[in-house]
Each structure stands twice: as C-alpha cells, then as structure tokens.
C-alpha cells in the first residue's frame, strides 16, 4: 500500500512535505473505508446468514432460504429494513451518549481490522505492537456498551451494560495471559512476525509448540467468547432475563450498527486466534508473487472461517452461564491456569529451547494428540447418529 502511494506521488511529480503527508493520509483513509465497505460489511452480513442456516440445521429446521439463492441476500433485506426504520430515542434517554454509543462499539471493532493480516503483504498496518493495539482498541467496545446501557435510561439496558463491562474486564486477564504465553515464544508483538515465526506445517504452529500453549489456545478461545459476548457468555444481552440487554432501546440504523459489530467481531476473534495459534497465512513455498498471495489469503480465510464455524457451533450447543458461574470460571479456573501456562511456557523454553529435538518430538506428540481428539470426536458423532436412528446422512444444505 505504501508502495502504491509512493508510485502515485512519483508519477504525479508531487513534492513538498505537506502534500505528500496529505496524499498518504487520504490514501490510507480511502483504503480503510474501501476495506470496510467491500470486505467487512458483506462478511458480517453473510456470516449472519450462515449462522442462521447452521443454527437451523442443528435444530432440525431449514433457516432463511427465500431472499436470493438459498436466502443468501437475507442480510441485505434485514439491513435495508433496519435502515428504513424510524430512528427512535427514548424520551428520558441521554440523547448525546445514546447516539454516540453504537459508533464507539463499531469503531472499537473495526479499528481491529487495521492490523489484521490477510496475507504476507496484504495488511493495512503492520504495527510492531500489533497484539497490544488489538487488545487496546477492542477495549473501546465495553465503553460503548456501558454507555449505551446507561444512556438508554432503562434498567434492563443498564444491567446489560454493567454485566458486559464486568465480564469483559474480567476476561481480558486470561485472554492477555494466554497471549502472553504466545508472546514468550514469539518474542514479538507484531502479528506478521508472529505468523512468520510459525510454519505451514501444523507441527510448527504455536498450538502444538508445547503442552502449555495447547491449553492456552482453549483458555484464549473461552476468554474471547466472553469478550465478544457470545454464548455461553452472552449475559449482557440475555434475552430471557434482560429483554435484549444494552440493545433494548435501540432500533433501526443504530441497532444495525450493534449487530454489524457483533458479526464482524466474530471474524476479528477468529483471526486473532488464527494468528496466535494456528499459523495464520503460512503456506508451503511452492509459488511466489500473486499466486502465493492468493494462496495465503485462502489459507488465512479458511482457518479463520473454521474457527468462526466453531464459535457459531458452540453458541447452539452450550446454554448460558449464570453470572456467578461466569465469574467462577474466570477467576477460579482460567486466571490461575493461564498463570500456570505462562510459567510453564517459560520453563519449557528454558529446558527445551526452540529447534531442539525434544521440542520437535513434543510438537509431533501434541499434533498426534490433536488428531486423536478429532478421531474420537468423529466416532462420537457417528455413535450419536446411530443412536438417533439416522440411516442416511443428509449433507445437502440446499432446501
């Protein structure tokens, strides 16, 4: 991107510090907006459709299949409907905060896209404090949520906002500690460097680097679910207790912004897990140049989408936790265990430094253990199908 702008400046013969700075600024703004419009928004929309279809199948339903081919444009219809709706602000609401809140949530999540790598060269900004920036910018989200809860002047909204704040602040700790274990191994905060440090082979991924990182992946996963307000940690918008939590009083466009942020967050969360544990965009170096970039984009997208699927899948499997259970899980289990992880990783690095034969054998054992879990899972699913009296598997998603 930098090169593209440099080329533009050279070809036009522009000089002068101010002009060049302005061109950079406008160019970056343009690309950021383009990314938002062309990639993120449709992605969030399509994921909402995918989630509804998957949820439907898990509940023996069909799901939305009327708008467009197989309901693919359901999200367009929903979005248009939201935009056409009346923009309501409750009478006693704090008008300024109420209108500001959705945009804060939106900015918090979309700011994270600035450092998300899509391939080796396709990244808006490769910050040397990438992960740190990511955790910092997504901290804007609870501010927006608690703002919306407070400004709605509605007790359910306030409860939702408070819960969300408590939950996100609690779960930042295990998330950060799990990442800390990764950072100990990688020795850098830059997302691109972390990916480069891993290889395309699964045994080179951080998740299989040592047993502590293997468990750290699951802690990070759970903590990220909680930070993204996803089930089983969706207490802030628990519909059976709090109407719709902090979104209760929102309608139309602002509600759409909250929803958009929620779906986009899914991808952000999955991408961070992908970068930190699953090797990111690493592909075998068969080709170079544009084809390699395309492969990298595909590899990154594939891994992230698998994780997105798992998050959706968990949502339709696990019931919501109670508030005290949520806190017990965080403070009694995840926090001590992730501290243990950091300690264990440090110890492991001292005993079996990177590249040592022992470390490589451990990677292989962990990898085989992962395969073993997968096989166990497949057998379990087969058992369930047999117990359910299913004789013919129905893969067909088209209804």
């Amino acid at each position: 991107m930098q090169q593209l702008l440099d080329g533009l400046i050279r070809s036009r013969g522009w000089t002068g510090e101010g002009t060049v700075q302005l061109v950079y600024f406008l160019g970056m703004l343009f690309f950021a907006v383009l990314l938002l419009l062309v990639v993120v928004t449709p992605f969030a929309g399509v994921v909402s459709w995918v989630e509804r279809r998957i949820a439907a199948r898990m509940q023996s339903r069909i799901g939305p299949n009327r708008v467009g081919p197989q309901g693919l444009f359901q999200w367009v219809a929903d979005g248009l409907k939201c935009i056409l709706k009346e923009d309501l602000v409750p009478q006693d609401a704090d008008r300024r905060l109420f209108t500001l809140a959705p945009y804060l949530v939106f900015c918090g999540l979309f700011g994270a896209f600035a450092v998300l790598p899509f391939s080796e060269h396709l990244v808006i900004a490769d910050l040397n404090v990438g992960i740190f920036y990511m955790m910092a910018i997504t901290s804007l989200v609870p501010v927006g949520i608690i703002m919306s809860g407070w400004a709605s002047n509605n007790k359910w909204s306030l409860f939702g906002g408070m819960r969300s704040a408590a939950q996100i602040i609690s779960y930042e700790i295990p998330a950060a500690l799990a990442l800390l274990a990764v950072l100990l191994v990688s020795g850098t905060l830059s997302l691109q460097e972390i990916i480069r440090d891993q290889g395309w082979r699964p045994t080179e991924w951080y998740i299989f680097r040592n047993p502590f990182l293997f468990t750290a992946f699951f802690y990070f996963f759970a903590a990220n679910l909680a930070e993204g307000n996803r089930t089983p940690f969706d207490l802030p918008e628990a519909e059976s207790e709090l109407v719709a939590g902090y979104t209760t009083e929102y309608s139309g466009m602002r509600f759409a912004f909250f929803m958009l942020a929620e779906w986009a967050n899914l991808y952000v969360v999955a991408s961070v897990m992908n970068v930190a544990f699953l090797g990111g965009w690493n592909v075998p170096a068969i080709t170079s140049g544009v084809p390699q970039t395309i492969f990298q984009i595909l590899a990154f997208a594939f891994k992230s989408l698998v994780l997105v699927f798992v998050i959706i899948w968990i949502r339709w499997t696990l019931p919501r936790l109670r508030v005290d259970q949520l806190m017990i899980l965080c403070w009694k289990y995840l926090v001590p265990l992730s501290f243990l992880n950091v300690f264990g990783t440090a110890l492991w690095m001292m005993v079996l430094p990177e590249g040592s034969p022992g470390g490589r054998i451990a990677s292989w054992i962990l990898f085989l253990f992962g395969i073993f879990l997968l096989v166990l899972f497949v057998l379990r699913v087969r058992m369930n199908l047999r117990d359910g009296g299913v004789t013919r598997l129905d893969w067909n998603p088209i209804r």
Partner: protein, 196 residues
Amino acid sequence: MIAYIENIKKACTTIFDGMAVTFSHLFRTPITYQYPDRTPKRLQETLPDRYRGHLEVDMDICLSCRACERACPIDCIKIEDVRVPKEMIVEPSGKKVPRVKEATRFDILMYKCMYCGLCVEPCPTLAIHFTKEFEGSTDNLGALHFRFVDEEKRKRVLAKAAELEREKMAAEEEARREDAENPPDEGGEEKPGDES
C-alpha cells in the same frame, strides 16, 4: 483440589459430548414444512379428520331445526326458514328423514366463531360440520361472513314455500267448498224439542 480437577474434567468431557450431539444434527434431515407454498401436498390435506377448521353446512340435508343456532354460545349462527312441502332426504349415514322446513338464510359469522364445536354435536343430520380449512386471514371482515343460502337458492325455497302455501290455500278452499256443498246438518242447533 480433587473436586477442582474433577470439575475441569467434567467440563471438558461434557462440552465434547454436547458438541458431538449438535454436530451430528448437521447430517439429519430438517423436519420443517415450508408452509404455505412448498409443502409436499396441501397442508389442509395432512390435517387429522377431527380438525376444527371453518364451519360448513350442507344445505341439501339441513333440516333447519335450529339446534345449532340454539347451541351456539356466542350467537354466530343466524337462520331464517320457511315451511316447504314435505320431502324425504338422505343422511350421510343412509337414513331417510322427512324435511318440512328449509332455510332462506343460513349465515355463520366465522369471525365471531370460537371453534367450540357445540353446534356440530346436536345436528341431527350432520349437515353442519368442521372442514380442514383454516386460512382465514383477510383484509375484509365480510369475507368471513359465510352465507350458505345464496339469493338463487333463497328464491327457490321461497317458491317452494309459496307452492306449499298455495297448496294449503287450495286445500283450505277445497275444504271450504266441500263444506259449502255439504253444509253440516244445522238441524242440531234447532233442537226439535225446543219449539214448544
């Protein structure tokens, strides 16, 4: 400490099991009927025989006995009838019953009906019955005002009634004429023994 580890173990295994259950559902056929336009056959045909849908009256076998009108707790059946020449009608069961009245108006206000079925029970000929039709939504309330006697039928019934009336008149006339021709013996009034 043992309970702590036990908890972790339980969490891992139960989540594993639960996720296997939901995943297995991805390979099962959905059981949803895509009502109204993509059902394998019309949904009304798949309903049980005792389904309580819209009411319907078979006017050919209705005796106009008004049992349904009396039974209706919210008065949504309106009947007006006239006497017609006696005729034998055949019930669905094959039994023959005489009919001496026919309705000139048989309205069911379906928008008031609560589908209790109290009108169906007393009907002697099974003329009033539930159908499997349930799609009642409309933008016009009048569409749910069912009229089972149309104008033509009403005229026919009235004609029959008029015929009966004529017959009766004719019969009365006949009777009167016969009376006139054979006047009753009025001698009974004049008691012969009264003269003196």
